[in-house]
Amino acid sequence: MSQTIEHPAVDVVVLGLGAMGGLIAVETAKAGYKTVGLERGPYWNFTSDFTETKYDEWGIGFMRKFDHNLAISTVTLRNDRTQFALPIRRNTAGNAGQYTSEGFGVGGMTQHYGGLMGRFPPWVYQMYSETVNKYGLDFLNAAVPHQDVTDWPMTYDDYVPYYNRWEKMWGVTGTTEGPLVPNANFPLPPAPPTPIGTMFRDASEALGYHPYETPTSLATQGFTNEYGVQVAPCVYDGWCGAACNYVCETGAKANTANRTIPAALQTGNLDMRTGTWIYRLDTDSTGKATAVRYLDIEGNVHVQPAKVFFNGLWGFNLVRMMLLSGIGKPYDPVTITGSLGRGAANGVPAANVRSVSGTVNIGGNSYCAGNALAGGFAFMEFADDFVDHTGLDFIGGAYPFGIGSYLGGGPQNFDIFANGPDQTMMGSSFKASIKDTFLPQKLTVGIAPYGPWPPTTDWFIDVDPHYTDAYGDPLPRLTMDYGSNTFKVANYFAPKYADVLTRMGATNVQVTGPIDGSDQHMYTWPAHIRGGARLGTDPNVSVFNKYHQCWTCENLFAAGEVTDPTGDNTTVGGTHPAGAASYVAAEGIIKYLKSPGMLA
């Protein structure tokens, strides 16, 4: 017999305790506000829950034993508005098609992410105005057909203090981030560099670039963060970032459970409720949110009122929650009006772009692969607008991150399916071809440059008219595909990478032919969706203002990659810039609690 349980009102409810929700929870709880944290998964004790059982490629990589179960909810995907969107029915395996599962439990997707860090450079924050001012609107429209690019509500310089604070709290490794992006002096030293990484560094330097070691969120040293949470150092067991699969048993790979939530709980102000399924935000006649509704494991309906709600759900789920609750103006792709769901862009490279590869005279233990994307190098000169685009037909660049990072980032027997199963994978000759595959005597360095996928008016998130989740609510639907800009970037930069590889002493350096990408389509959901619930200064095209406050629902805030106004820009993983921005959201929430109303 399910009941409806009305809870007394609190100051803040945080929906989802992933990277963003964890930060809001600790900030409001430490500021003395009564906070309820709702999370559909458990509060994993990463030490006791993961130490003995995480070394399991099948259970983790394919059966996703620590992740969200698609039987409860999933997403549908189509490449354009004329298509029927098919639901993602299962997790796929194999490097080519593998996507990271949605998070499940405190930590969310940062529980198993690759830990790639790095700041967005200044250009990203003013992608629209910088491009239009420098090259003209016609250039932008030609480079990105149906472009729907907007600027962030603040500049890079505005975000620097938030970056600084978040990096120290999260524990970002790295050196001073190159002369092109100042003010980044990461708190933790980089992981030991690899031989290929140092080859890449030296060759890049010789060619006049400014390489630096790829920043990650894997604590290379133990430290205590600003909340007093003690973080243990990385033990380099190797089962870490491969295909963004593995959970961390020491807490060195930063996530909510090992950076923020323990401190939030210690204040006594956080009431954490796990195993909850959030399905609706109630609103009043003025449009303000009044309560969140969720189910517990027995099917009881809980109603939790609060002064402020923070939507920390992931990507399409964040957008869906608002659409189902009637908050915001849904995007209409026919009239190109409305803002919720608008501007969504993929943040994952296409399966096949123009690429470059070469063989270096170095072998290695590719299973003892260190961790995540550490140990490799990057440089900024190919990224964003560091190349003059006058006379070119694209915007942005191809950022080389993690070149020479630990081989493959960890155990991936599934790599043998990198090209998908086919008729060649039978018999003695194929078997012989994978002999000692993890002990290469010589390594091939492959670089697949890909460029930004700025938002377009063609891509968006809405709710599906045919499919529902286990509780009967419509699934989110993605209408999204690869944009031509990314392929043009790859065509331009691949030969430049070939120069670096040649300088590294690589032999058999090969560049694949130019590609237009017209035959390539997205066929699984992207693990990074940037946009769909954008920050901005114009309520017609954005959902949230610079404080991450909803234009149409003043006591609803949100953060995450999905609030990114500029789509994927290729520079870095999304957690770092989103994490820095979430401090602005925390600031906004506390301002609002002190003095309700639209923040300016």
Binding site: T51, E52, T53, Y55, D56, W58, M63, R64, N69, L70, A71, T74, L77, R78, N79, T82, Q83, F84, L86, P87, I88, R89, R90, N91, T92, A93, G94, A96, G97, Q98, Y99, P192, P193, T194, Y236, G238, G364, N365, Y367, G370, P411, N413, I416, F417, G420, P421, Q423, M425, M426, G427, S428, K431, K435, D436, F438, Q441, P465, H466, Y523, T524
Partner: protein, 346 residues
């Protein structure tokens, strides 16, 4: 040194050696001296008693004849005994052969016993596949990952049992899959109308690795049931026999036919989807942790040189991952399984 080595070769050198060679000469001279005296005495006697000598000669001849008979007899006996020795040697050879055969049988029996023990220990029975289905699966496993000069194959790895177990549990029940309808195939050219809405673009063509590839109104156990039955039917119609009775080349060809969607009827599923699933599951059974019933004795990991949960010091090798991960030459490490790791951790 040279003297010593000559001694070792049995060639006497030096003082002692010279004395040794003289010794027989001295003895021979003494012997000739006494023998010469005896002969002289007989010569003297013969001149006096001749008739008696004739008798003696005859007697001696008879005695010689008798002795010759005895020699012949003994020679025959020796010959007979040699025959017996040959016979016995033959018998010995034959018995040695039998012993070798029996030893071989013993080894085979012991292997079978340990194999059976392993099956019992590892639970290598069928949990959901029928015996008939298992024969087809096992034949596919052997065709896809043969046991060959490159090492043990899928059969030795127990891939059949990996697949069988998976089909019984979450994988087979599609417990982690979104299973609600409607079921609309991928790769449909438009227009397609669903729930009263018409989509001129149809549905996307999704590669195997795409999460929307499988759009069937059935769980994965049923998918395999239909796939195996359809493969068997196709094998009989196109190759005149059950799949497991075909030659390896025919089996590989039949599977390639599935990849190319050659069978025109294949239950409710696309032949290529079944092929893809088989390839994925067979190789996974070879390469995933033995905990899941395949990769027995980590033969798959040994083949690809994957170390499992051995970070470099599981067997006391004294290596550390931080050294291995920045090394510029590979170091082969014996793998360890998750179960070994857990027992080692306990």
């Amino acid at each position: 040194m040279s003297e010593k080595s000559n001694e070792e070769k049995g060639q006497p050198v030096g003082t002692n050696g010279a004395q040794q060679t003289k010794m027989p000469s001295t003895d021979r001279r003494n012997f000739l001296k006494y023998a010469g005296a005896g002969v002289a005495g007989i010569v003297v006697g013969a001149a006096v008693e001749y008739p008696i000598l004739n008798g003696q000669i005859q007697a001696d001849n008879a005695q010689i004849s008798t002795l010759q008979g005895q020699v012949t007899s003994l020679t025959n006996q020796v010959s007979g005994l040699n025959g017996q020795i040959n016979t016995l040697n033959g018998q010995i050879t034959s018995l040695n052969g039998q012993i070798t055969t029996l030893n071989g049988q013993l080894t085979a029996d012991q292997q079978q016993i340990s194999g059976l023990q392993a099956e019992v220990t590892m639970g290598q029975g069928l949990t959901t596949l029928s015996i008939n289905e298992s024969k087809t699966v096992e034949a596919m496993v052997e065709a896809i990952i043969p046991s060959d000069s490159g090492g043990p194959g899928g059969k030795e790895a127990g891939v059949l049992y990996f697949i069988d177990r998976q089909l019984t549990t979450d994988y087979g029940k599609s417990a982690n899959m979104y299973t609600k309808g409607p079921y609309v195939p991928q790769g449909l050219s438009g227009p397609v109308t669903v729930g009263g809405i018409t989509y001129p673009g149809g549905t996307a063509s999704v590669p195997f690795a795409g999460g929307q590839r499988l759009q069937y109104a059935m769980d994965m156990r049923e998918f395999w049931r239909q796939g195996l039955a359809s493969l068997q039917a196709y094998s009989n119609s196109a190759y005149n026999g059950n799949f497991e009775t075909l030659t390896t080349a025919q089996q590989v060809q039949a599977l390639t036919d599935l990849f190319n969607n050659k069978p025109t009827t294949f239950g409710a599923i696309m032949p290529q989807d079944f092929f893809n699933e088989v390839i994925f599951m067979v190789w996974s059974g070879f390469l995933m942790d033995p905990l899941y019933g395949g990769n027995a004795n980590m033969v798959g990991w040994k083949h690809v040189a994957f170390n499992g949960v051995n970070m470099g010091n599981f067997y006391g090798e004294g290596l550390h991952t931080t050294d291995l991960m920045v090394a510029s030459t590979p170091t082969r490490i014996q793998p360890a399984s998750l179960a070994q790791f857990q027992k080692g951790s306990g």
